[in-house]
Symmetry: C4
Subunit: 208 residues, 4 copies
Amino acid sequence: MKLSYNKLAGQSAERINAISDAVFGVAMTLLVLEIKVPELEGHETEGDLMHAFFALMPKFLVYFLSFMTAGIFWVGQSAQFRHIEKSDRNLIWINLLFLLFVSTLPFSTAFLGDHINFKFSILLYWLNILLMGIFLYINWTYAGRKGFITEETRDMVYESIRRRILVAQALYFFGALLCFINPYLSIGVIIAIQLNYAFAFFSGGRKK
Amino acid sequence: MKLSYNKLAGQSAERINAISDAVFGVAMTLLVLEIKVPELEGHETEGDLMHAFFALMPKFLVYFLSFMTAGIFWVGQSAQFRHIEKSDRNLIWINLLFLLFVSTLPFSTAFLGDHINFKFSILLYWLNILLMGIFLYINWTYAGRKGFITEETRDMVYESIRRRILVAQALYFFGALLCFINPYLSIGVIIAIQLNYAFAFFSGGRKK
Amino acid sequence: MKLSYNKLAGQSAERINAISDAVFGVAMTLLVLEIKVPELEGHETEGDLMHAFFALMPKFLVYFLSFMTAGIFWVGQSAQFRHIEKSDRNLIWINLLFLLFVSTLPFSTAFLGDHINFKFSILLYWLNILLMGIFLYINWTYAGRKGFITEETRDMVYESIRRRILVAQALYFFGALLCFINPYLSIGVIIAIQLNYAFAFFSGGRKK
Amino acid sequence: MKLSYNKLAGQSAERINAISDAVFGVAMTLLVLEIKVPELEGHETEGDLMHAFFALMPKFLVYFLSFMTAGIFWVGQSAQFRHIEKSDRNLIWINLLFLLFVSTLPFSTAFLGDHINFKFSILLYWLNILLMGIFLYINWTYAGRKGFITEETRDMVYESIRRRILVAQALYFFGALLCFINPYLSIGVIIAIQLNYAFAFFSGGRKK
């Protein structure tokens, strides 16, 4: 009976990974549909076309940002499941709620892109990141409490992953608060935090 | 010959899982495209923006609902396939028909969202849930009759999963009938049933 | 060296399955976006709403048809790969070209739906089915010629799968030709052929 | 400890494959949404319909091209991962950045399709191919430097895959430069290069 339980639970974690990859993959790719190819009428020149393209830069920035944020959380969830060897119905629902806020990310990013100089859109964007962070945190601590984490790596990784989420969320919260001083400062700091997570490989691969 | 048959059948169940995850993943994520970022013209204030955002709340409610319903049926199908170890062409088509009605869920949910105080849209939404339930039921009983369910867990789970679908569908039917008294009462009860399935993990994990 | 070759080739067939499931999953689900929830203005009644919904029936028919056709070809490709245990770069590209015409299916189905009483749209729809059939046929015969098909099942399935494609395509061709007599007759016959493949499970599961 | 590290790393490469297949699958399929079924008003004839369809040919050409390019890079990444048996956080981010430019491919292809006789759109399209090529190259050389490539095949494939990317990118660069002579010449050469990679199976399968 023990064996079959493990087998079933393991298979179910595979399905969590599969639905997560599908939701992340779609969310990451759908975003580009928001960027429309500029339509020029009449006698257009190379200069007109370049001008029209560079006018799309804010949309591209928002797109890249959203892709980056999605990537950060995909890597985070993926790293957790490298250590989680069992699952139950609750863990599945925790992950579905996590995915719910992954799929709202395109909305909150577009909202920020369209209303970039407003405190409200920054706080909304931050709220989305917070909600993803909360469910990622619940996922990890729930798996820890239920003994779903591989014993051989548990001692090495449990605390570091838990703390990593808390530190990242504290940084995002600090970044979001800065919007009360200046919206652009706030966005700049949030972007810097994201870039730090995304481009950590430029620092020589401290983290595996 | 016996061995190779099992191997082939097993592989084919993997493909059912894979196509299901793709369809569910896309269906769950596409929904957010329905929620358009509000465009404000002229001199907008923080207050205007917040007002425009909160006006989107019904759309978000519908989105969350649809995500929840999709999640419930994904968990349901996923739970069945943890116990189904073989498959045949019929089982594949039963699952494709199940997926057909998964992919219409965004439509029926949006229909309900846009015409929330009509009996017809409630019955339509219920019909979608019913059709998903019917094919999930057929999937399980067909697999049972054909002996595709793992022998070691069959006795433990067959009846409970079968009954679970019937009870859930009876509750949905009851909820839908309430629309003849009051549409909002009906929606409230359907939502409550969904929340009960989704948030069962708050009750301390009775079900695995 | 032999072992590692098999391993690599096997892994590559897995990737073909994975990209196929993604393309099919997206193609099957995207279609529903074409069906817009009817917007009613002013004093709408239950009757108005029902009327507006039933006016969408042709769109639903087209949607169901397209889902069915995609399902038929997904099952067909899936059945082949249950017997194909190796692959090479050519087999990958044959499958990518197959997927190319899977992804045009939504277009040709919608084209048929919008211009249902024209010979040209029927022939276009048939052309799409033909192209999918051609690449499915090439996939199977190429795999056969290169010895990629499992030896233990090759003798049992090679000819039957090959003939199955040819017979189905002959039936589709015959159905398409009927458009020169009457477009509706032609569509009816094509639908009947599709239903025969899709609903074969009603006939008691002759085929596995 | 060694064993568990390999296991974890291997699992993580699986997730890279899975998210890649999802992003590629969605990107490949979304493109068809750009091709709208022509709407004819009033008394349309078979001739009108055919005319309207053939007017869509440039859109289809762009669609096929984009599918082909996506396929080429999917095959390329897929071929690398047949030989990469371990991964780390950096390799994951290299692949996410690769996928970022996979998901912009629909945009740059549509841009080219709409402004086909401009140097700027050709250079933009080429820039997209270049960026995908750069991250594919980094992926391979990083995996090589870190010893992530299977030892049994490393000597056979490392140099040939590395050179293949450089040669392909040199050809694309040459093709793009031709736009300063004539845009159509440039596009023709880029298409020829793509077709050479896609249709290599017509040459009798020299490459595996």
